[in-house]
Amino acid sequence: MPSEIRSRSWPWIAIGVSVAVALFLAMVSPADTVQGELVRIMYVHVPAAWLAYLAFTVTLVGSVGYLVTRKLSWDRVAASSAEIGVYFTGLAIGLGMIWAKPTWGVWWTWDARLTLTAVMFFVYVGYLALRNTADDSRVRAGRSAVLGILGAALIPLVHFSVVWWRTLHQPASLLRPDGPAIQDPLILWALLAGVVAFTVIYVALMVKRIELHRVADRIRDVERSADRPVAGASVTAPELGGGLGDE
């Protein structure tokens, strides 16, 4: 197999393998004694929420990286990660609502975790909207970097909201100081496989999005340089008096 095809196909192979393993474990894991088959939504909901944290943390790193180094590659990392993060935050909220209806009896409740996750979603929707308002790459990068840093303050708030405000949403199942709360090893492995599969998807999407941003920036730069007048173009030769051409 030529090396170019190999390098193009590795993300799909990695996604295929990790998703297949995660799906298999999610299917063979036992049903919950209380929630029954509904618990399987957890294998998608929790990894999606984890990916939102990861994506917005990477956006923070990219934003700080841009402000420190002024290299646009950092901005592309931040923007790509924010796009993926918004998608997976929306997915986590949507799946959470589907899970909430049969278990809590409502699609939405004013729980601290839910509310803060929705707030985080809107902050990063604003981040993406802000990026669309500036044509110049450097202007866009500088401004969105500031919002990328400000928005990251919500990540610990969202995560610890279930600890600080004990409401309807259950506390963290995996990231706990006293170890995971899930006792059944098969459920735990299924959940971890889901997290790994989503992380692989994230990495593959990041590689593609960063490349797309790089190409888009290059096209924009070429268009802008084509529109720019050549130096001296505004200077025109003075017309000579006396009507030489008419005589």
């Binding site: 902050v123 308002t133 401004r143 500031v146 400000l150």
Partner: protein, 222 residues
């Protein structure tokens, strides 16, 4: 804070307040708009006076947050690139400009909060309790919103969608202030401790101030 920085901040505050005196955006647009919103809400949810008394404080803070953003929106839409370039060429410290803009916005927001607050008390028959704590909450909220609004206005300055984008940026980030302000009133009403909510509001305000001052120069350079 040295004398040069202070005088620059004072100059920016003075400029913004002069502009407000000339244009009257807050006095003639934002305050009547906020009062009108408080007037309309009972028509939508019903004119049960007991219900209105219960939800009134929350309604007041929602109106303060959503319509208070207009103070920053106004500035984002009237400052031109040429004005910004002229100010930066004058050698004004970007951090001083940010602090000055935020202070003037906070002052105007405080006036807005007080006037709309009186309207809310009259329309919803809200019980006014713990006046010193409420006054402190009004000040912290005004400063926090002023800092957030000024930062958002800097982020969108000179962009075509600027004034439309400011509310989208400020509204989600002002949620901790909204929560803190409403819970302070609830705490005072029910005799519970309000210190944790005051602390939340102060921390959010300080974090915004630090990020705003720290990023003022990179933002000006863009």
């Amino acid at each position: 804070m040295n004398a040069g920085f202070r005088s620059q901040v004072a100059a920016v505050v003075e400029r913004d307040l002069r502009r407000e005196r000339r244009r009257g955006d807050v006095v003639w647009v934002t305050i009547p708009f906020g009062a009108m919103a408080l007037f309309l809400l009972p028509l939508a949810i019903g004119v049960d006076t007991q219900l209105l008394q219960r939800v009134g404080p929350g309604m007041y803070w929602v109106v303060v947050m959503l319509f208070g953003v207009l103070v920053s929106v106004g500035r984002a839409s009237i400052e031109t690139d040429a004005q910004r370039d002229a100010v930066s060429l004058l050698g004004l410290d970007p951090a001083a400009a940010y602090v000055g803009r935020s202070m003037s916005a906070a002052g105007l927001l405080l006036v807005y909060e007080i006037v709309v607050g009186v309207v809310a008390v009259v329309l919803y028959n809200i019980e006014v309790i713990g006046i010193p704590w409420l006054a402190l909450t009004l000040v912290i909220t005004a400063v926090g919103l002023g800092l957030l609004g000024s930062l958002a206005a800097s982020l969108v300055s000179s962009s075509s969608a600027g004034s439309a984008l400011v509310p989208l940026l400020v509204a989600p980030l002002s949620v901790p202030l909204l929560l803190g302000a409403t819970q302070v009133y609830e705490g005072l009403r029910l005799g519970r401790s309000i210190l944790s909510w005051m602390l939340l509001m102060v921390v959010v305000t300080l974090v915004t101030a630090i990020i705003g001052v720290g990023t003022a120069r990179p933002l000006q350079e863009t």
